[in-house]
């Protein structure tokens, strides 16, 4: 792919994704009938980390060890961030801690995509930010440009030189996806291997994808059922119902409800104001004031 070709493709894509030339959201122009999206209820999420471990199990994530962890080289596609309330005297614990499961937000206008010099990270027609490992040259611009810091770089050859899966631990590896090697970037894929299978199966059966066809690994494990995942284009899907009832519109960067006084809904997107149009909606954590 020549650079001019790439830029041309890119600008075409940007013009309809997710807003057209005049900044008007254009659902009609959406290239497929599937748009994968998620919602995470922070009032149900307990911060237990099961989602993160499930992701290691599903997606062949290497354990890097203490030393590399200290250099910020952990490979956890899903990480659970922990925040405290802040008061005059520092952190306050009276209302507990706040947890935020954070992974690639599959931005519709992904800041990581525009900066990749080789087009290794780009958008799929079902609305995912994908990473083509064998095209990636390791420039790491994408990681620098990701506002959520959810891209993870293989600084080492984990499978071989680092022996991240000493035998027989390697027998646990999921054969549905690769084990990445040194020099490439990786990140949450919304369990691509699962969505892909679900789509193909539905296609074979001549019907649209339904909620019961696919769960991401994190969603499946979550003991509190805090994660919902599905096709935002299907009005029957739980995720579409949630986005709709929370009045969060994927292709807006300022939600109308946020402009209204007395808004009593709790759906929001993290760092929405940066206009990446993320595909993950969070539901605010609730705290009782009567006690």
């Amino acid at each position: 792919m020549s650079v001019s070709n790439l830029l041309e493709n890119w600008s075409k894509f940007r013009h309809t994704h997710p807003v057209d030339d005049k900044g008007i959201p254009d659902w009609e122009a959406y290239p497929s009938d599937i748009k994968w999206a998620m919602s995470i209820d922070l009032d149900a999420c307990t911060g237990c980390n099961a989602c993160s471990v499930a992701c290691y199990a599903e997606n062949n994530l290497p354990v890097v060890g203490k030393d590399k962890y200290s250099h910020g080289q952990a490979m956890h596609w899903m990480r659970v961030e922990r925040y405290w309330d802040e008061g005059d005297n520092g952190f306050q614990a009276e209302q507990g801690a706040r947890f935020l499961p954070m992974m690639c937000q599959q931005c519709e206008a992904a800041p990581c995509e525009t900066v990749c010099p080789v087009g290794a990270t780009n958008h799929t027609e079902d609305g995912l930010n994908s990473q083509i490992y064998n095209r990636c040259i390791g420039s790491r611009y994408c990681s620098a440009n990701c506002p959520y810091k959810v891209r993870y770089f293989n600084w080492y050859n984990y499978p071989e030189q680092e022996n991240a899966w000493p035998a027989p631990l390697n027998q646990q590896l999921n054969p549905d996806l690769t084990v990445r090697t040194k020099g490439v970037m990786e990140k949450c894929t919304f369990c691509k291997q699962r969505t892909y299978t679900a789509r193909n199966n539905a296609k074979t059966e001549g019907r649209p994808v339904q909620d019961s066809d696919v769960q991401t690994a994190c969603q499946e494990a979550c003991p509190a059922g805090a994660i919902t995942f599905g096709n935002l284009h299907n009005p029957e899907s739980q995720v579409a119902k949630q986005w709709q009832s929370q009045q969060v519109d994927l292709i807006k960067d300022i939600q109308e409800k946020d402009e209204k006084e007395g808004n009593r809904l709790r759906g929001y997107r993290v760092l929405e104001e940066l206009r990446p149009y993320p595909s993950v909606m969070y539901l605010e954590r609730v705290r009782e004031s009567a006690v």
């Binding site: 237990c48 499930a54 925040y83 646990q172 003991p223 609730v286 004031s289 006690v291």
Partner: protein, 747 residues
């Protein structure tokens, strides 16, 4: 002894897929990286295998005692992942991180692979024939009273077989030990409600007040309670969104999720409970006379002074409890780990009676109709009994299975030395852990994904609906693949071989534990949900493939009989100036008592509250740290009367200023590459103080002092240098007050 080896082919036969020449090779250490991706012969496939399509086998998680029902995802002869069984009333298709890591116990590179015999300092690998022969030899001439078994909590047919073996040996010395056990809770529940493990219905409560019960993390059946919790938080529930108040000196995962986390002074939980009862009375709730006779002394003023909880907070809490019913009050480890732990738990249980929760959010449980397979629960007091016996030289032959007391006993018990006094110690082990290292003979065990067992959970969750009060269940654990290491054995197979040494005739019809189990199940076909006329093969296959056997259990009953008679709570005393701080050993959801420390996912999975990985730490309140001149990362020495450890200091807002907390489960000297040398073992430095009623080790009764060593490290953790700050960004982890949001119509 190869006839006892369980082969994959037999396994397939029992599932009704036999007959094909099966070429599933799970062992052989095939490596995807080697390019040897073909672990199944694509030429001669068994009928049920399609390459690239997973098969799921129902089984039972073995990572903790909750007994969640799992499905092993198996592809081309390898188990890849544990997923939750959606039909389970316990975990309803869900998993915790600890449970997910079970595959890493199975494929662990540090598993013991052959029987090992130690002579002096030397170890050698020996054959199974020799190992079992040696046990026979040592047992001959040893009296039953001189033989002891130490195991964890047990249940099911392995337990039944162990019982038979002990009967044959004439030994009654079965010590069921759990390093972290809700033993005080069981006793207190029995007294207060008539049942040691009633069903808790967090999902039905409008308010939950938990005195240190970490039900979302490490308490009793966390995946089950997490689902109840998710229900409880739903604003669209008829009862509205539930409110959680957590009262504990060190914030647990559950505390981190509370609407209000109350840092009570360590040990005064019972006082606070009585103070709340008194405040409830003041607010107009009628308090039964026997309780009022005790609680009236606990005026809000006095309670506040003793517990460090403000009068306003106590009154608010009482008002909330009075207004929103039903509620549920729980007592957990934080309240029970004292010499007066049982008294604390009894005082807390009174609240459920006063609030009328018994029968509403505390329901009767049911037990399995077969006592031989009903769970035997463990406690620390049984280890004390074993230790005393060992010290007195009473036991010559000791078997240990599934426990690691050399690691988890307080140093002051001198367990390791006493253990050494037994002539012959046999460890059934998956790892060369501290106890296996101290044994004479080590028998390598199959992993839980290679072995057969039946499991009856202590906490008996039930599906909704009619008959749930008599619902009990037995779950199957079945092999999901061929053995990873060919020379390990299932614990049932070992016990059966040992039984045959004693009484060959009685067991000669059973080739292996599998055939024993199958015949035991088929004999009870009707009680296990079949019909007398059902074909054995069909019944067995169907039962096994479901993995869960619902039983018509013996329905229990709960009653509000908690009484205040005899309740006596100590008046808190000033701390000993030489050991001014209270040590709270913390039990985390993934590390628990340390038995899973060699699973790398767990070491690299950040502690949810501190976000620390690959090490232990001591949590210190920032105020206390400031007084002591300690900053984050200082290596400090934590010293008690009984010992000391060195570890990194972490400044933590979720801890009472008079307390410090260190997680248990770290600091292994053995076990394997991921566990050894990681962190410090806090078990060793605990003082030997016991709960006065149950004799349980009082985990929170150790007082310590903290001194700086002058060394410092940069703590390896997930959070950055700004800690938990959102740096003023409005839209990261957003929180809203309950009165500012309409939850009733949420989908």
């Amino acid at each position: 002894m190869t006839e006892n080896d369980f082969s994959r082919r037999d396994f397939l036969k029992v599932l009704g897929w036999g007959g094909t020449a099966v070429a599933l090779s799970g062992c052989g250490n095939t490596s995807i990286q080697d390019g040897q991706e073909t672990v199944t012969s694509y030429v001669t496939l068994p009928s049920y295998v399609t390459p690239s399509i997973s098969n799921y086998f129902n089984s039972t998680c073995a990572q903790c005692d909750a007994g969640c029902n799992i499905m092993g995802r198996v592809r081309e002869g390898r188990v890849l992942k544990a997923e939750g069984n959606p039909n389970s009333p316990i975990n309803r298709g869900r998993m915790c991180g600890l449970g997910l890591s079970g595959v890493q116990a199975h494929y662990n590179p540090d598993r013991v692979r052959e029987p090992l015999l130690r002579t002096g300092d030397k170890g050698e690998t020996i054959t199974w024939d020799k190992a079992l022969g040696l046990i026979n030899e040592k047992l001959n001439g040893t009296k039953g009273t001189e033989i002891a078994f130490v195991t964890g909590g047990m249940s099911g047919h392995v337990q039944a077989l162990l019982g038979n073996y002990m009967d044959e040996l004439g030994s009654k010395n079965h010590f069921s030990y759990e390093a972290i056990s809700p033993a005080v809770l069981r006793a207190a529940n029995k007294k207060a409600y008539g049942e040691s493990m009633p069903r808790y219905r967090i999902d039905k409560a409008r308010v939950v007040v938990s005195f240190g019960a970490d039900f979302l993390g490490a308490w009793v059946s966390p995946v089950h309670f997490s689902q109840q919790y998710a229900q409880f938080r739903k604003g669209s529930r008829p009862e509205g969104r539930g409110v959680l108040v957590q009262i504990e000196p060190k914030m647990t995962l559950t505390g981190a999720n509370a609407d209000r986390w109350i840092a009570v002074r360590p040990g005064t939980e019972g006082v606070l409970a009585l103070g709340i009862i008194n405040a409830l009375g003041k607010a107009g709730l009628s308090i039964p006379a026997d309780i009022a006779a005790v609680s009236h002394e606990y005026t809000t003023e006095r309670t506040s002074k003793e517990t460090d909880v403000s009068a306003e907070q106590i009154e608010k809490l009482a008002a909330l409890l009075k207004e929103r019913t039903p509620s549920l009050v729980l007592a957990g480890g934080a309240a029970e780990g004292y010499a007066h732990g049982s008294q604390n738990a009894a005082a807390i249980a009174l609240l459920n009676r006063v609030l009328g929760n018994v029968g509403k959010t505390l329901e009767a449980s049911a037990s399995v109709p077969f006592p031989q397979i009903a769970p035997t629960v463990g406690s620390r007091s049984s280890l004390i009994a074993l230790n005393d016996g060992l010290a007195a030289g009473k036991y010559k032959v000791v078997f240990s299975y599934g426990v690691n007391p050399v690691f988890s006993a307080p140093a002051s018990m001198k367990f390791k030395d006493n253990f050494a006094k037994a002539d012959f110690k046999v460890a059934f082990a998956q790892y060369m852990d501290e106890t296996a290292l101290a044994a004479d003979l080590i028998l390598p065990l199959d992993s839980a994904m290679e072995d057969w067992a039946t499991v009856v959970p202590e906490y008996m969750a039930a599906p909704e609906g009619a008959g749930s009060n008599a619902y009990a269940q037995m779950s199957f654990r079945q092999p999901m693949m061929e053995k990873v290491f060919p020379d390990t054995r299932g614990v049932g197979d070992i016990l059966l071989a040992l039984l045959k040494q004693r009484t060959a005739d009685k067991y000669k019809e059973f080739e292996d534990f599998y055939s024993y189990l199958r015949s035991a199940v088929l004999k009870n076909k009707v009680a296990l949900g079949g019909k007398a006329g059902d074909d054995d093969e069909v019944f067995w296959n169907e039962t096994l493939s479901k993995g869960i056997v619902p039983l018509k259990g013996i329905a229990g009953s709960v009653s509000a009989k908690a009484s205040a008679a005899g309740l006596k709570l100590p008046v808190p005393t000033d701390a000993d100036p030489s050991y001014p701080l209270r040590l709270i050993p913390a039990v985390s959801a993934s590390m628990r008592d340390g038995r899973n420390a060699n699973e790398p996912w767990l070491q690299e999975s950040p502690d949810p509250l501190t976000t620390i990985v690959w090490d232990s730490w001591v949590e210190i309140n920032p105020k206390t740290a400031a007084k002591l001149g300690i900053v984050e990362g200082d290596i400090v020495e934590v010293t008690s009367k009984s010992g000391s450890i060195k570890t990194q200091a972490y400044l933590f807002p979720g801890i009472h200023p008079d307390a410090v907390s260190v997680p248990v489960g770290y600091g292994h000297e053995a076990m394997g590459r991921y566990a050894r040398g990681v962190g410090a073992n806090v078990f060793g430095m605990l003082d030997s103080v016991f709960d006065k009623e149950t004799g349980e080790l009082a985990l929170n009764e150790t007082s310590v002092k903290i001194s700086k060593t002058g060394q410092r490290v940069i703590i390896v953790k997930e959070e950055g240098p700004v800690g938990g700050s959102q740096a003023g960004k409005p839209k990261i982890a957003v929180q809203v007050s309950a009165d500012k949001v309409d939850l009733s119509k949420e989908v």
